[in-house]
């Protein structure tokens, strides 16, 4: 029972964290299960994918109802991530993982640098992060009004995000949130909530194989999934109260952490 309680609490933590930042929580679940509970990696990844869907549906139910997620953008870019995830699953066996991890780490470092530069932007600079409750809000419930840019480039990026996700077993949100925010000009909060819708679609493409193949232990997955749903609802509610600047800072910290992990993997470390 105590192990189940720890699993559920891990799920709550991963769900809240994932919903808060649009990541799905897989970044936490896989290491927690493998290092903390001695779960085989394949089982941990399969369980993580189901939990990413749980985070996505739990948080998205809240965000879509509140009019905070851009469903059309999620669907358009989701097509790219699913295609990328399927390609990634096919070519995973042909490319050296260490090289990919190194490239991914470099990409994340560049993303963190760009986001830090954005955080230091003067308050007077034009920005899509002007998230007032003004009459321009399309849903009339506090959602910021904005126009997305560079859709073809973003779709290409979403294929890459899905590809990296399929190859390295990380959530596509770590790429999609900066892509929507920095490339498309979507406000940080909208990027996170829209990513929460997308990651469930992307994770589903991989989860079916794990579920039907028998790589998921039901007694292990149940407490984690139940915890994740509770945590995701809490995280989605909290994300509306946190200031956009804090969300961006938190995201940069996580990006740097994952970049370090991937860098270690590239040079042959155990991360």
């Amino acid at each position: 029972m105590s192990i189940d309680l720890l699993l559920a609490l891990s799920g709550v933590l991963a769900g809240a964290f994932g919903a808060l930042l649009g990541l799905g929580g897989g970044i936490l679940i896989v290491p927690i299960l493998t290092l903390g509970f001695d779960v085989p990696l394949t089982t941990a990844v399969g369980t993580s994918l189901v939990c990413v869907i749980a985070t996505s549906t739990g948080a998205a139910a809240f965000n879509v109802r509140a009019g905070l997620a851009d469903v059309r953008l999620a669907i358009t870019l989701g097509a790219g991530t699913v295609v990328g995830a399927m390609i990634g699953a096919v070519i995973a066996g042909f490319l050296p993982e260490r090289m990919l991890a190194g490239l991914f780490s470099a990409l994340l470092l560049y993303t963190a640098y760009t986001m830090i530069r954005g955080l230091r932007r003067p308050a007077s600079a034009p920005s899509n992060d002007d998230e007032g409750d003004g009459p321009s809000s399309p849903s009339g419930r506090g959602a910021p009004s904005y126009r997305s840019h560079r859709l073809p480039l973003a779709i290409s990026g979403s294929v890459l995000a899905g590809n990296v996700s399929g190859l390295l077993g990380v959530g596509g949100g770590i790429i999609m949130v900066p892509l929507m925010h920095l490339v498309m000009g979507a406000p940080m909060r909208i990027s996170i909530t829209t990513s929460n819708v997308m990651i469930g679609i992307t994770a589903a493409a991989g989860a079916y194989a794990y579920l039907f193949r028998g790589d998921i232990d039901p007694r292990l997955a149940a407490p984690v999934v139940l915890g994740v749903v509770v945590g995701a609802a809490f995280g989605a509610a909290m994300s509306r109260r946190l200031r956009t600047g804090w969300l961006a800072v938190l995201f940069v910290v996580v990006v740097l952490y994952v970049a370090a992990q991937m860098g270690l993997r590239a040079i042959g470390g155990s991360a």
């Binding site: 109802r65 079916y208 997955a221 407490p223």
Partner: protein
């Protein structure tokens, strides 16, 4: 960009699907605690469902959860078709077709010969 006419039915599917999945998983989990056994471990889903009992319920709940994104895409495609937004509708149908193909492949590969 953020449209309530599309968002409301999708939010209902997300909320309803999550609620059903979580309830089924929770009932299965509690039944498993009551019976006190350790469960079957990692088992292919079709075999798990055929075995019945607590673990079959957990497996069914997890399956429902993974089907929620499919349902979201189907509802979105219908909504976009009604509002004659062809490019977004094509994107949702393409993604839906890819997920269905992924599901069908997983079932076919795992099905006993």
């Amino acid at each position: 960009m953020i449209d309530d006419r599309l968002g409301s039915p999708i939010a209902r599917v997300l909320r309803g699907g999550t609620l059903v999945a979580v309830t089924v998983v929770a009932v299965g989990y509690v039944l498993g605690l009551i019976t006190g056994d350790d469960g079957p471990g990692t088992t292919p889903l079709l075999a798990l469902l055929a075995s019945g009992g607590a673990d079959a319920l957990i497996g069914a709940g997890l399956l429902v959860l993974t089907l929620v994104p499919l349902a979201v895409l189907a509802v979105a495609a219908i909504g976009l078709a009604r509002s004659a937004e062809r490019s977004d509708m094509v994107a949702s149908l393409l993604t839906l077709a890819l997920l269905v193909a992924s599901l069908a492949t997983a079932i076919l590969v795992s099905a006993p010969a």
